[in-house]
């Protein structure tokens, strides 16, 4: 499951910032290292909501920062959703 989420995040990052695809790692900051601006970051999170059927509250929009944060957040929400 984690690999599939990481793969999806990787693909989306490459679609939004093609030049940054080779820099993706768990610890990479999506804005500082991969060059996303704040609205591209929101686009990525919104796409994740649609893809995984999760909801990211407004209060979390700023504290998901690294690729690893996003993958973990999607994983935790998708798991919670499946066990509901």
């Amino acid at each position: 499951m984690r690999d599939a989420i990481f793969e999806w995040v990787n693909t989306r990052i490459a679609a939004i910032q093609p030049d940054s695809a080779s820099l993706v790692s768990d610890s990479a900051s999506i804005e500082d290292d991969l060059g996303f601006d704040s609205l591209e970051m929101v686009d990525l999170l919104t796409a994740a909501e649609a893809e995984f059927g999760i909801q990211i509250p407004d209060s979390r929009l700023r504290d998901i920062q690294t690729v690893g944060d996003l993958v973990a957040y999607i994983g935790s929400q998708a798991t919670a959703r499946r066990s509901e």
């Binding site: 601006d37 704040s38 609205l39 970051m41 929101v42 686009d43 999170l45 919104t46 407004d58 929009l61 700023r62």
Partner: protein, 332 residues
């Protein structure tokens, strides 16, 4: 049986003379112009002179809309604004008096969706035979509430006003206003907010300036404008592909692009004035309508979709066919 409908009869707008471009603003804020433009699509905005009030802008826009409509009598004036010159009284009575009308007059507070709310109210007054000629004005002077040193908001907003005239007509006339979708979600009240001068629980506001959560506003704007536009299209019985002109609230070109993509409407059908005017709040839609008239881009019978999202959160959409105006050539 509806025998009477509100019909669009004239459009006008007014802008402050002073343009502030990104070069001037970026130097003041200590950011670069590319950063500013890539985030918003905005290159310049008009800023009112100290002596130029929201009322002045509203009167000038209304005057031009009345000329465009052939100078009808007006029995109701509605001003949508978030930046009135005084907290009390409303702006609309002064505007009506300065235009020479002893008319019913009130303001609408629905921030960037204010023009569509006011348009719906004006149309409903005509349908209910509570008014005949109606002036609907969106006028804002956000420079009065934006912190000039705030890099997050100062680049976004500009001042201006736009107005339309409504007249009673038949329900099948082009320009008849039947289809609206209006909504709000007060749980999002903190997205875009300015404190009252004396909020409950404190002697005076700590911070008089507009505060905005840009990230959350961006995504709610895209989602609500998309769903509201879809609702009004359904009400009108149109598909998105039928629409000739989408006139959406001008907050950010990236919101406009996302809404166009969600609706599956080619981007060249969207009116865009934000690159030279910024976000003019309640004025953005009538300013864009006036551009369509001024450039001759809109023709009688064409399908027009309006949609807006803003503070509240409040949102709204309208759909109508463009009418044949009394005067096709602008007098101003």
């Amino acid at each position: 049986v509806t025998v009477r409908a509100a019909v669009l009869a004239g459009v006008g707008s007014a802008l402050p003379e002073r343009a502030v471009d990104n070069v001037e603003l970026a130097a003041r804020l200590g950011v670069d112009t590319a950063w500013m433009e890539s985030r918003t699509g905005i290159r310049a905005r008009r800023i009112a002179a100290e002596s130029e009030s929201t009322t002045d802008l509203a009167v000038a826009a209304a005057d031009r809309a009345l000329a465009h409509a052939g100078g009808p009598a007006v029995s109701l004036v509605i001003v949508a604004t978030t930046t009135p010159d005084r907290l009390c009284p409303a702006t609309a009575p002064t505007v009506a008096s300065r235009l020479g009308f002893a008319a019913a007059a009130f303001d609408v507070a629905a921030v960037c969706a204010g023009f569509i709310y006011a348009l719906a109210a004006g149309a409903a007054f005509i349908e209910a035979s509570l008014a005949d000629g109606v002036l609907v004005i969106g006028a804002d002077r956000f420079s009065a509430i934006v912190d000039p040193a705030d890099v997050d908001t100062a680049p976004l907003f500009g001042d201006g006003a736009g107005a339309v005239v409504l007249r009673p007509g038949g329900p099948d006339d082009d320009g008849a206003l039947h289809h609206f979708d209006l909504g709000s979600d007060g749980a999002l009240a903190d997205l875009i907010a300015t404190a009252a001068r004396t909020p409950a629980g404190s002697a005076r506001a700590a911070d008089p300036y507009l505060k905005m959560d840009g990230r959350a506003t961006y995504r709610h704007a895209i989602s609500r404008m998309t769903s509201s536009a879809r609702a009004v299209l359904k009400s009108a019985g149109w598909s998105a592909g039928d629409v000739d002109h989408v006139v959406a609230h001008q907050a950010n070109v990236r919101i406009l692009k996302a809404v166009a993509q969600n609706l599956d409407v080619p981007f060249d059908r969207l009116a865009v004035n934000l690159e030279r005017l910024g976000n003019t709040a309640a004025a953005s839609i009538p300013l864009a309508l006036d551009d369509l008239v001024g450039t001759g881009a809109v023709r009688p019978g064409q399908r027009v979709l309006l949609t807006a999202f803003g503070g509240g959160a409040a949102w709204g959409s309208a759909a109508f066919r463009w009418p044949r105006m009394t005067r096709e050539v602008r007098s101003t």
